[in-house]
């Protein structure tokens, strides 16, 4: 029962070839025939299967074409995904270098598009415009107690235009992705989250480590900063140096932008008044823990409701017009809801689990109010054999209903989930 042998109850007792050397040939044939008649059970056990996502509903993709044209370890943590209007999925990685990649659902494989010069982190900062152009917000690092930011010039807003990337064939791992640098939205700040209002031609963003809220107007290409969602360091030990900045932004049907900020309160950017507002409503939290709580992920339904997942692991619905919050509780006995999408079957799918926990997938049916816990996330097929993902930090849904899940570890892959 060594660690790599931790489910050893499925040894096949009848296949004892060891004694074959010591018996007669006749007995050998009988013995082997007997052995061959036994069912082969060299699959992982059924008990474990029940603790992971159903294997006919999940798959994964390498981040390129191994062994050479693949985004390497230490550069492959997926912390940003976005689906273009034409259904293409774009992703950005974090690590020693950031890479941009593409998955065309018709093609099915990940195409690395090159490195993002100077970038080491792209955190929830990838959006696609109406014409398919991709906007990328870069950072030095995030959630590292702001280490290194004292000398950091600032994260860049980059633009990748697929139609202009005419030399896309060939190995791109070592090459720079052809992007247009739209500049640094805020000096000394990394970009922490982005959302896009395609109809108004504007991108909204949050910065790290100071939680500034900014906009970038496509025309004339101007950045405006509206204030901060957090000004004070969260209560904590002396080494802690983080502000309670929402980890994602949501756009409502009227063009208002929501996130969370200091004190676990919602913040709204009112598109009419062009003001960043501290709202009196709070992110669902255990009483007393409000100051630590923030929104990790958002999605929206066709009625205009926003759904969010919190760092304490709660799922909630926010009616942006009435500013009414409904707390649906915690699907998991874990922190964080790091990804959230509304699938074509009407259910919400989310991923829970902090960096030192085991990520788990769940669904929530708003119609019935029922949760379904779908289990740990792994893909059990050759050549992976139970490739487990422990940390996920991005989730998107494709036009065909495929749910994309970005693994965010040193050695990461893109997972695909197919809801019923």
């Amino acid at each position: 029962m060594s660690t790599t042998d931790w489910r050893c109850s499925y040894f096949i007792r009848t296949r004892d070839f060891g004694f074959i050397m010591r018996v007669q040939q006749t007995l050998l044939i009988v013995a082997v025939l007997a052995a061959s008649a036994q069912p082969l059970r060299s699959q992982r056990d059924r008990g474990y299967d029940s603790s992971v996502v159903s294997q006919v509903r999940i798959d994964l993709r390498e981040l390129g074409y191994p062994p050479i044209d693949v985004i390497p370890s230490d550069e492959s943590a997926i912390r940003a995904l976005a689906v273009a209007p034409d259904g293409r999925l774009y992703g950005a990685t974090s690590g020693e270098h950031s890479h941009l990649f593409l998955l065309d659902p018709q093609h099915g494989y990940v195409e690395p598009l090159g490195t993002l010069a100077g970038a080491r982190a792209v955190h929830h900062s990838l959006v696609v415009g109406q014409a398919g152009e991709v906007y990328i917000g870069t950072a030095l690092a995030v959630e590292n107690n702001a280490q290194g930011y004292e000398h950091y010039l600032g994260g860049h807003l980059l633009k990748y235009v697929p139609a202009e990337d005419t030399a896309r064939n060939g190995i791109r791992i070592e090459k720079a992705c052809p992007v247009v640098d739209l500049g640094i939205p805020s000096k000394g700040q990394g970009i922490y989250a982005l959302t896009i209002d395609r109809s108004r031609g504007v991108i909204y963003g949050l910065t790290y480590p100071d939680g500034e809220f900014f906009s970038y107007q496509f025309h004339p290409g101007a950045v405006k900063i509206y204030g901060r969602v957090a000004t004070n360091i969260m209560p904590g030990e002396k080494f802690e140096n983080e502000k309670a900045i929402g980890r994602a932004l949501a756009l409502d049907q009227d063009g208002n932008v929501f996130t969370s900020g200091e004190g676990g309160r919602f913040y709204r950017f009112d598109v009419k008044t062009q003001q960043l507002e501290h709202l009196e409503i709070g992110v669902p939290a255990v009483p007393g823990r409000e100051v630590y709580n923030r929104v990790d992920a958002w999605t929206a339904d066709v009625d205009g409701n926003l759904y969010g997942g919190t760092s304490d692991g709660y799922l909630f619905r926010l009616n942006p017009a009435r500013l009414a919050v409904v707390n649906f509780g915690k699907p998991l006995n874990q922190y964080r809801i790091r990804g959230l999408v509304l699938a074509h079957n009407g259910k919400l799918y989310g991923i829970g689990g902090d960096d030192d926990e085991m990520a788990r997938l769940f669904s929530y049916d708003p119609a019935s109010g029922l949760y379904e816990l779908l289990g740990m996330i792994d893909v059990n097929r050759r050549p992976y054999y139970s490739w487990q993902g422990y940390v996920f930090d991005a989730m998107e849904i494709g036009l065909d209903g495929t749910v994309y899940m970005g693994q965010a570890e040193r050695k990461s892959k893109l997972f695909l989930y197919y809801p019923q």
Binding site: T3, W6, R7, Q25, L28, L33, M376, Y385, S386
Partner: protein
């Protein structure tokens, strides 16, 4: 199915005939042994065996569901010592959480004479308790000082995870580890007293079981499908080398645990003379050499018991490989798939040697104790400063009427307990 069975049966006959032809009938290897007094319940040992320069032989004894123990055998006084319960040494007895059930990786000796190691968990409960309040708190980096008899706890190595694989590098005074289940490469820099997590190397089911360290302090391991990574302490970076080990494609074996890795090296040893690693792969016990300077990997043979070479049911490689002073590699091969009480049936281990000077492989026969009892499997080997070879493994326990059986459990219907095995190559 019938054709397959017949083919298997006939090939077994042919191959087993060859195997017996290369070894004198009845040849066995007799080894001396020492049990671990008061620790009969200890149920396994993997890799955690080390012969220090002062003649003390350290071993980590595993106890699934309970507290592992650190012990050492003083070869000068012929006495076995129990340093202690590892959970208690980590100061965690009061936690009532997942215990420190194992030392599951190699020890190493520092220039300060201390013996460095990392700790590990026993059960993982299908990961249902991973990261929970009742789960395993995480491995500790530690050092035992033979001068004072005290263990220093350097603290938590990795929250919620164990040190599945480890090695100590005296050049840089660091303990390296690969964690379970997340497969992170971690180390503790004892000189700077800093713990570092470099992130995920591989998947849990194929974490290689030995980190090899060369004479300049570079650390190597295998990952993926027979690939090799290198950690350079000068740059603090991990790179993946364009090499492939001679491994049998996964999926061939029958009856092996599904999650048992078959794509990595199982064990390697460093040879300071040739500046090469020698190792065996997990799946088919393929012996290879790896020259880290030139990047050359050479297949040298197979160290499984003769007759198993091409068979689908070749036993999973053990961790019992050591290089002795006579320039021979000694390997204790399992007689069938062996994993202590997880083994389906007992079979006797063989001692296999490979002569680095001549390239000759020799099956030295079944390993037996002086009273004829069988060695049912081992998973660690080391060579002492005087050339004595030590192994730790499961020995057969024969119940005596009227006496309680002192055993860790059963392999098939045979009781076993752990023992340190002592073999003198030149005897």
């Amino acid at each position: 199915m019938y054709r397959l069975a017949k083919l298997l049966a006939l090939s077994s006959v042919i191959l087993s005939g060859v195997a017996w032809a290369v070894r004198p009938p009845g040849q066995t290897t007799q080894v001396d042994f020492r049990v671990f007094p008061g620790l009969a319940m200890m149920d396994g040992n993997w890799a955690a065996l080390f012969a220090a320069s002062d003649g003390k032989i350290y071993a980590g004894l595993a106890y699934h569901g309970g507290d592992g123990h650190l012990v050492y055998y003083d070869s000068k006084t012929d006495r076995m010592h129990d340093v202690g319960n590892v959970t208690a040494l980590c100061g965690e007895s009061i936690l009532k959480r997942g215990p420190q059930s194992k030392i599951h990786a190699r020890f190493g000796e520092g220039k300060d004479g201390r013996v460095y190691f990392g700790t590990h968990a026993g059960y993982w409960w299908d990961y249902a308790r991973f990261g929970t309040k009742e789960g395993y708190p995480g491995a500790h980096w530690m050092a035992y000082d033979p001068k004072t008899g005290r263990v220093e706890d350097f603290g938590l190595a990795c929250p919620n995870e164990g040190i599945n694989t480890g090695a100590y590098d005296p050049v840089w005074n660091r303990i390296y580890g690969l964690t379970h289940p997340r497969g992170h490469f971690v180390y503790y820099d004892a000189a700077r007293r800093v713990a570092v997590d470099k992130g995920r190397i591989n998947n849990f089911e194929s974490i290689c079981r030995t980190i090899g360290i060369d004479d300049t302090g570079n650390a190597y391991g295998s990952f993926g499908e027979g690939q090799v990574f290198k950690y350079d302490p000068r740059t603090d970076r991990i790179i993946e080398l364009p090499l492939r080990l001679p491994v049998r494609p996964k999926g061939i074996s029958l009856g092996r645990d599904y999650d048992k890795s078959e794509t990595a090296w199982r064990v390697v040893v460093w040879d300071d003379e040739t500046k090469k690693f020698y190792g065996v792969d997990e799946s088919a016990t393929i012996l290879f050499s790896f020259n880290p300077r030139s990047g050359e990997v050479r297949r040298l043979g197979q160290l499984c018991i003769p007759g198993f070479e091409e068979r689908r049911d070749v036993p999973y490689a053990t961790l019992s490989l050591t290089l002795a002073g006579d320039r021979k590699l000694y390997y204790a091969a399992a007689g069938r798939e062996f994993d202590y009480s997880g083994s389906a049936e007992p079979a006797t281990s063989h001692l296999i040697s490979y002569d680095l000077k001549t390239g000759k492989t020799e099956d030295r026969g079944e390993i037996l104790l002086p009273d004829g009892r069988r060695v049912l499997g081992t998973n660690a080997a080391t060579t002492g400063p005087d050339g004595t070879i030590y192994l730790v493994g499961a020995i057969e326990v024969r119940p005596e009427g009227g006496k309680p059986v002192e055993a860790a459990g059963k392999i098939g219907n045979v009781y076993y307990r752990l023992a340190m095995l002592i073999f003198h190559p030149d005897a």
